[in-house]
Symmetry: C2
Subunit: 251 residues, 2 copies
């Protein structure tokens, strides 16, 4: 019976919420890592001093938030970002006929800079704090359609290098998870029309200042802290942005 994880019954509302918070804390502390199995429900119920039913309610919510994944007969796992799994949860560009494909990513540039007041506010960091900024060109069906400009606080991604970004073998969010223990659990996105910059128009093979769909994204970690700021620009001549919940076959 671990004293660290026993919870007061009086604070924070209900038992299962307390259990949920304790599990989020354990996940944030990387006690269990992406893709790993967590202890059985019986063990966790003992550890937290609650009944199985209560423990299950906490896990129910974590599964609904796609932080954990249950597999009957196997166990409960820490959700992992993978190209072949939850990729289309965050990548919402599809061809107009509905055809979905994985993008071929090319790193266009990478630099270290300092956060402007605007970016700092979005990321909840101090103005002037060190920042990584890099741009990816994403090709679908052999044609560049999407340009991502990604901004990451150095404090959250220490020692990130251009080489690490080039050598990653899976998705960006999988990389954040494996290399930095950062679990992206949700995003806020706002869409509007923008005009293609010179670099963008060149990569997208459209005229300068052509209208493109801009997506401003803030990605949040397990503890609801912003960890990534991203501006995406999409050529929607043949593709579009799909906003709704995917059906079960979201994969």
């Amino acid at each position: 019976m671990s004293t660290v994880t026993v919870m007061p019954t009086s604070l924070g509302g209900t038992r299962y919420k307390e259990v949920k918070e304790a599990m989020l804390a354990a996940l944030t502390a990387q006690e269990w890592k992406g893709g790993e199995v967590i202890p059985s429900e019986k063990r966790l119920a003992e550890r937290f001093g609650v009944s199985i039913g209560t423990l299950r309610k906490a896990i129910d919510e974590l599964c609904a938030e796609k932080i954990l994944i249950r597999h009957q007969g196997l166990g409960t796992f820490v959700a992992q970002h993978r190209r072949d799994r939850h990729f289309f949860r965050f990548f919402r560009v599809v061809r107009r006929d509905g055809e979905r494909t994985y993008p071929a990513v090319t790193l266009v540039n990478f630099k270290k800079t300092k956060a402007s007041a605007l970016i700092a506010a979005k990321l909840g960091i101090e103005s002037g704090a060190r920042l990584f900024v890099f741009t990816n060109a994403l090709a679908l069906h052999g044609k560049v359609v999407v340009i991502d400009t990604v901004m990451l606080p150095e404090a959250t991604f220490p020692d990130l290098t251009e080489t690490m970004l080039r050598d990653r073998t899976d998705t960006l969010y999988n990389f954040y998870q494996d290399a930095f223990g950062i679990n992206v659990t949700g995003t806020d996105e706002r869409l509007r029309i923008a005009r293609a910059s010179e670099l963008e128009s060149e990569l997208l093979k459209i005229d300068v200042a052509s209208p493109v769909l801009e997506v401003e994204r803030i990605a949040y970690s397990l503890n609801q802290k912003p960890v990534e700021y991203r501006l995406t620009r999409i050529n929607t001549e043949e593709y579009e942005y799909i906003a709704s919940k995917m059906k079960d076959g979201e994969s």
Copy 2:
């Protein structure tokens, strides 16, 4: 013990799923209408021949899908679309500074026509089936920013008239619910850039063929049947489309 609502234990998977389907059927049949309270959990458990826990699990899912709403001490209610409640669940246009406001709606035109093959496919009806088409201009902060063109199958909305649309006092989806018993429970949306038509440019006070954000929406009813097809066009100079889940204060 009603024989109508007793369910076979063998079919359709699990007990609570069966209960959920039976409740969806009762809602579709308008046994309980929008805004009304449904029977207590104890009564429903007796009616369906399951324990309270099982009945609760069915209701849990219906609440998660925003079909029902629980109020402790009061009862469980059929969710109702209301300007002051779930309005921003489906209206996703906000000013760039984040300010949200209710649109002032003006009905621009209304006509009866027949479904093209394309529209018919989207609505799951037969090509050439009778259709209502109407256009609304939506003003935010005193300025027209959004143009909605809405298409409704006559078979689903019999005897709809222009007057009914003008005289409605709450939201469109509230009107569908009260006047036709149609509960919109979800939408699919796709976004892309389009060019303003002559009418749109006039209403939006922008040049003809200016780029506008187009949102193509299919709205689904309780039984997952498409009930509305809508093309929205947004001037994103001062406003934007917010794609992410709202926080709890979504109202």
